[in-house]
């Protein structure tokens, strides 16, 4: 009976050790993915939010979410696309809520408290085209927006963008074509 108990305890210890080893292996693997794909998540968030602090926060949140569900990801090679989509979605949510807040504050603020409109000189000094481009991008449908952002990130081919989004390369090309055409029309 005592032997049986000892054998049983040994089994439990072995199982715990195996579980611990599996967990640390998974953590190491995830750490490697973070180093590889973390900056991409940041860039996607930055492309939507255009604010480094917010983008950093969103990208970290996206990585945490990915970590929590890392076990469910069967094909680890799809991690990058998965993370990009989480990051984009979170960034969009934050961007929308920021815009709503901004609108509310503008509506409620008294006229004298509102910031003064930019002067002609300020407009001339600021990069007007970039501002218009950002506004035009904000007005684009989500599927065009993410394709434009991912295609503009250096180091990724259209095939890789298609892989990240889980759509055929032809779809990425046609979306990119339509998005660029729409942007040009808006900025002309």
């Amino acid at each position: 009976m005592q032997e049986l108990a000892l054998i049983h305890q040994g089994e439990i210890l072995e199982r715990d050790a195996a579980r611990e080893a599996e967990r640390s292996r998974r953590d190491r693997e995830f750490e490697a993915r973070v180093v590889e794909c973390g900056p991409l998540a940041f860039r996607v968030a930055q492309g939507v939010l255009r604010n480094a602090a917010d983008a950093e926060d969103v990208a970290q949140e996206a990585l945490l979410r990915a970590y929590r569900k890392f076990d469910r990801l069967r094909d680890v090679t799809r991690f990058r696309g998965w993370l990009v989509r989480i990051s984009f979605r979170l960034a969009l949510d934050r961007w929308r809520s920021a815009r709503r807040r901004e609108r509310r504050e503008t509506e409620w603020s008294l006229p004298e408290r509102r910031p003064a409109p930019p002067t002609a000189e300020e407009i001339a000094v600021s990069n007007q085209f970039q501002a218009r481009l950002e506004q035009a991008l904000d007005e684009m449908p989500e599927k065009f927006r993410i394709v434009l952002l991912l295609a503009a990130i250096q180091g990724y081919t259209l095939e890789e963008v298609a892989g990240m989004l889980g759509v055929p390369t032809g779809t990425v090309k046609s979306r990119l074509f339509l998005a660029r055409k729409q942007l040009a029309e808006k900025l002309r």
Binding site: G38, G47, E56, Y67, R68, F129, L133, L149, L176, L187
Partner: protein, 230 residues
Amino acid sequence: MKCEKHQGKILETLAAGGVFSGELSTHCQACPACRSFYEQQASLFRSIDAGLRAMANHEAPPSFLPGVRGRFAELTVSRRAWVPRWSFSVALAVVVILGLSLGYVRLRPESRPNSLENVAASAGAMGNRELEPQPLIESSTASIRHHNGTRSRDLSPVPSTAAPEVIVLEEDRQAFAKFVARIPRERDVALALTQPAPSISDGSVEISLLQIESVEVKPLETALADGGAN
């Protein structure tokens, strides 16, 4: 018309990021309007591409990866510590539920043993002083306590602050006091008041016509006097 068609093609080729066909290239070289259009549009698309690249290629700040690792460390610690937190929450919930249920049992009206006596006393106080209820007989109160059902709950006194004010005629008040004073003495009345109503069965009911052979009309005061004598 020909230029319009070519300008449309120029736009599409630039948007697709493709190369001009031989015919389009030849036309642009020959037609100054289309060449100018091409230069304008090519410049616009170059600006768009440059703007998008500037937007999408920000370097992650140096604090980014250490920040991620810090948040992972927090997450791992909180995951490992989930069992004690969970058990603490459950223990707290059990204590709160037990406390609430005990408080409810204590505050329930039927848990007060003297409800019927209270009714009698309050009714007596409401009515004539002479009609104050007699002290309850022990045997009858015992049976009343035993059958403490739904009706006794209805008779329990309600705090005057919560109850709406009802105007009752003096004679009604006296009659009620008299009735309540009789409750401890008459076991049938007490039982009828305190026993729960019998459950209604779904069986068939026979209805027959009521047959009254003779009707005797008496003045109300006489009837009350007779009842009081009994």
